[in-house]
Subunit: 256 residues, 2 copies
Amino acid sequence: MPAVIALKPVVKPIFTPMNQTNAKFEVTCGSCNLRELCLPGGVGAEDLDRVENIVYARKRVRRGEALFGVGDEFRTVYAIRSGFFKMSLVDGDGREQVTGFFMGGELLGMDGLGSGRYNGTAIALEDSEVCVMPYALIEQMAREVPSLQRHLHAVLAREIVRDHGVMMLLGSMRAEERLAAFLINLSKRFVRRGYSASDFHLRMTRDEIGSYLGLKLETVSRLFSQFQKDALIEVEQKHVRILDIDGLERLLHARN
Amino acid sequence: MPAVIALKPVVKPIFTPMNQTNAKFEVTCGSCNLRELCLPGGVGAEDLDRVENIVYARKRVRRGEALFGVGDEFRTVYAIRSGFFKMSLVDGDGREQVTGFFMGGELLGMDGLGSGRYNGTAIALEDSEVCVMPYALIEQMAREVPSLQRHLHAVLAREIVRDHGVMMLLGSMRAEERLAAFLINLSKRFVRRGYSASDFHLRMTRDEIGSYLGLKLETVSRLFSQFQKDALIEVEQKHVRILDIDGLERLLHARN
DNA sequence: CGTAATTTTGACTCCGCTCAATTGGCGTGG
DNA sequence: CCACGCCAATTGAGCGGAGTCAAAATTACG
């Protein structure tokens, strides 16, 4: 604890609270129901009170707003407390690529760590709240708490593994397989957070889904219609109900 | 130093030298010309002699052999001392996806860190030599040497950024743009290692290039032929000479 | 309540895939 | 050393899946 307190002054002046009430937190990591999914994942109770001090502030991000943008100086990592985000890249020619969708307990901004600047833009797809964790504090704490260090590495590695999965999806699946994989993935992640596995609200547009899956929005829309015709799902705008998850799985694993 | 020595016995029994002479290293990190690209990248001279102890052994891998395979227990990270590797994934249906090609100074195996098992297979595309670095040692040393910790994180983050680049490539580029991007990327990496930017030997097959780029081998072959017809490159089997790098760049950034 | 944004659907096109045949390299063994 | 066989690469012909362009329908939002 003392070491952390000692470090804070160094970091503090940099982080001027941007727009919101963040002084005292109603919820600490210890009582946060997303803890297991989040950065303090593998940290035992004995170290948790120290690790909690990593959370420097809370920040609200309104739907449509950017949490950070490409090229912004990297200083902090964000944990999603509530809400939903997309991460995207734009190359020199204005081409957008959505690299992922993120929900409660997941971490944003770690890719900035390589170059000192965020490599992509994080945009809230609904009103959200994040925990602000200065990287300097994480670094410091990771040295002192091995379980945190281990978990931090695991989180980074898991992001790499996830990306490889997306590469496989983009590199070797057909359009309908991609959408099936996408729906199954969303379903699983909702379940882990206590929501329905079969009934959920898409927070992103067809265009954003298409960008993520390497398809055009028209193709995504057609596939939704076709899945509905095949009694795999029910879609009404952004509301999706999965009727036949096994059917989706079969579609996904169908050789050819 | 004492701490490291103390740790070694714990780890040692696990790592029985597999097939090669690895007792004494002719080359240490300090005198390795790939150091800047490698794990000890940002580590100053004062800490280098300690960090060097991370390299537990050297290992030779013959062309075609696997350095590790999917599902193998994760214990070590490998740094490529010489040679060339491909990393690939196979999903349940036998579908292969090449997730990357790796050369001198680059790290292999870090994705295993998330789950305790390697997530993909690393196969040597030419006779190669790697430095074997037990993760337990890296972890330990990262706690003691902040510059190593920082660099380790940076390396992980850069892999994520790289993967996002590939996602953009797969998700929103046309075939010829993909191949142009691929050639430009290879060229840059060869240059950093002191090889020719314009004249190199592809160590992978058309099929492997295709897998990486989300294309079929026939398409890759046709594109090589077309690039040659357009006087952008000269190809003869695995030998490539870039004649017009600007032309390739233009092709890459041509909107539509 | 009106305007903009998103989604759906249709018709047509074209890029990259499939299938197939041929050529070329390279290592192995007679 | 050459012939054989195997694997990699090239090239062609034809096809089909996803993209493009366009218009209409529905919804979201100020």
